[in-house]
């Protein structure tokens, strides 16, 4: 169990430039945003923290929100509570639905959107949702920066490709008029459902035709389950979909889930996932 420690070195940069130069001088300094992921499994009286920490949540430059007609930009330290307050009129509603499924208001007042994306060992609840929405993120390090789409930041095993010296500073979420947006946690049972399977589906229709369709499962570890072939096959179909098409998609999807994540999902979860897709597809145009 960790004890009271004066040996933890806490840095409190005054600006983003200070933070970037601190990371250059001391690459092993770890970032502490809301701290709710860092602390969440540590229930000792004194939490065990890494020896060098940079506290970043107070930096105004990382809390900015900027909206244009085409996208909304969120600083990495915007809290989940703040995004929830802005609401589904301004921000894609599916993101708001996902945020409301995380912890409780006193957790969301600390938790940041950047911290949700940057957890190394798990793809947390917002990652698949933001990925589906084609979110791009700005990554900065001293002397350089790059923009990358979330799709490119994860490999097939779900590993995150953000280097230890990079800081995720901003996210840019395109604003598209999705007619259907749905997020749902599929609880594994009566125990805590914090890391249970989650479903996210978005779709657009125009005059009875499906013009875009995307869906993804996440939250149970590193791997995200998304099958772009099934998605592409559905686009340009008439909605509501026919019963026999729904059954065929259900079968394809179940086979895909069983093949891609055989040990990760229980048979109950595979069944729930299939039903979720079927329900979402059946709701389109209905």
């Amino acid at each position: 169990m960790a004890a009271a420690s004066e040996r933890i070195n806490v840095f409190r940069p005054r600006t983003l430039a200070d933070l970037l130069s601190l990371k250059r001088r001391k690459p092993d300094v770890s970032l502490f945003a809301g701290g709710t992921y860092i602390l969440q499994n540590d229930t000792g009286k004194y939490p065990e923290l890494l020896p060098a920490i940079a506290s970043i949540r107070h930096l105004d430059e990382l809390k900015r929100i900027h909206r244009t007609e085409r996208y909304i930009e969120l600083g990495c330290c915007v809290s989940l509570a703040e995004i929830n307050r802005i609401g589904g009129e301004t921000i894609p509603d599916v993101l708001i639905q996902a945020i409301r499924s995380i912890g409780s208001p006193p957790v969301r007042s600390l938790a940041t959107i950047g911290g949700n994306i940057c957890a190394r060992d798990k793809r947390l609840t917002l990652f698949p949702v933001l990925l589906l929405l084609d979110t791009r993120v700005e990554l900065r390090e001293h002397g350089g920066s790059r923009w990358a789409s979330l799709t490119r930041l994860v490999d097939a095993e779900g590993n995150l490709h953000i280097s230890e010296t990079e800081i995720l500073t901003r996210l840019r979420i395109p604003l598209v008029d999705w007619n259907y947006q749905y997020h749902r946690r599929l609880s594994a049972g009566p125990v805590s459902d914090r890391w249970s399977l989650s479903f996210c589906g978005i779709a657009s229709t125009n005059r009875g035709i499906l013009t875009d369709f995307r869906c993804i499962f996440g939250s149970m570890g590193k791997v995200l389950l998304r099958n772009r072939e099934i998605e592409a096959e559905l686009v340009s179909r008439k909605v509501p979909l026919l019963e026999r098409d729904l059954s065929a998609i259900y079968r394809d999807f179940e086979a895909y889930v069983k093949e891609s994540a055989p040990s990760m999902l229980s048979p109950f979860q595979v069944g729930m996932a299939g039903k979720m897709i079927r329900w979402f597809l059946a709701s389109l145009g209905a």
Binding site: E6, V10, Y46, V107, S109, L110
Partner: protein, 161 residues
């Protein structure tokens, strides 16, 4: 390390290990015992305080992260008129949360009623979703909150809705 913040309206500073949790700092260094350590995991809600105007689980805040924040505990609001209505509402319907949760629930009720003067049940649910309770029902809580709203209404201080 030295950490400074506003505590119930007063500037305070203390030398403290950076990984001490805010809930323990409030209790052990400032003798403010309204916030209590329960689960240390952000789940029970017993440690709730306001940080920069937002309800926050103080067990999830290592004290270094409280630097320059504005913290209000139950004790800072106990004498306000709004808290008196809440207390009277709770008493009138014999809603008595356990000793571990009492003050944090009163604080949450305060946050609820200052932002939603006449709250709907789903708003009560949302605000209290940060409290885990094994001893009372949501029905009792709804009645207590509705009673507090009623007390305020009868005193002539109507909500804004």
């Amino acid at each position: 390390m030295t950490v400074s913040f506003l505590l119930n309206g007063k500037s305070v500073s203390l030398d403290v290990p950076p990984n001490k949790r805010l809930v323990d700092v409030l209790r052990e260094d400032f003798h403010l015992e309204g916030a209590r350590p329960g689960c240390y995991a952000g789940e029970c809600g017993a440690c709730t305080v306001f940080v920069n105007g937002e309800l926050t689980h103080s067990c999830l805040v290592p004290v270094f992260a409280a630097q320059d924040t504005d913290i209000i505990t139950y004790e800072g609001l106990a004498d306000t008129q709004e808290m008196k209505y809440i207390l009277a509402g709770f008493d009138a319907v014999h809603y008595h949360p356990c000793a571990n949760c009492r003050q944090s629930r009163l604080l949450t009720a305060y946050a609820l009623l200052t932002t939603h003067p006449v709250p709907e049940r789903r708003e009560i649910d949302a605000f209290f979703s940060g409290h885990r309770c094994g001893c009372s029902s949501m029905g009792e809580l709804y009645t207590a909150i509705e009673q507090a709203v009623d007390m305020r209404r009868r005193s002539g201080r109507h909500g804004r809705r």
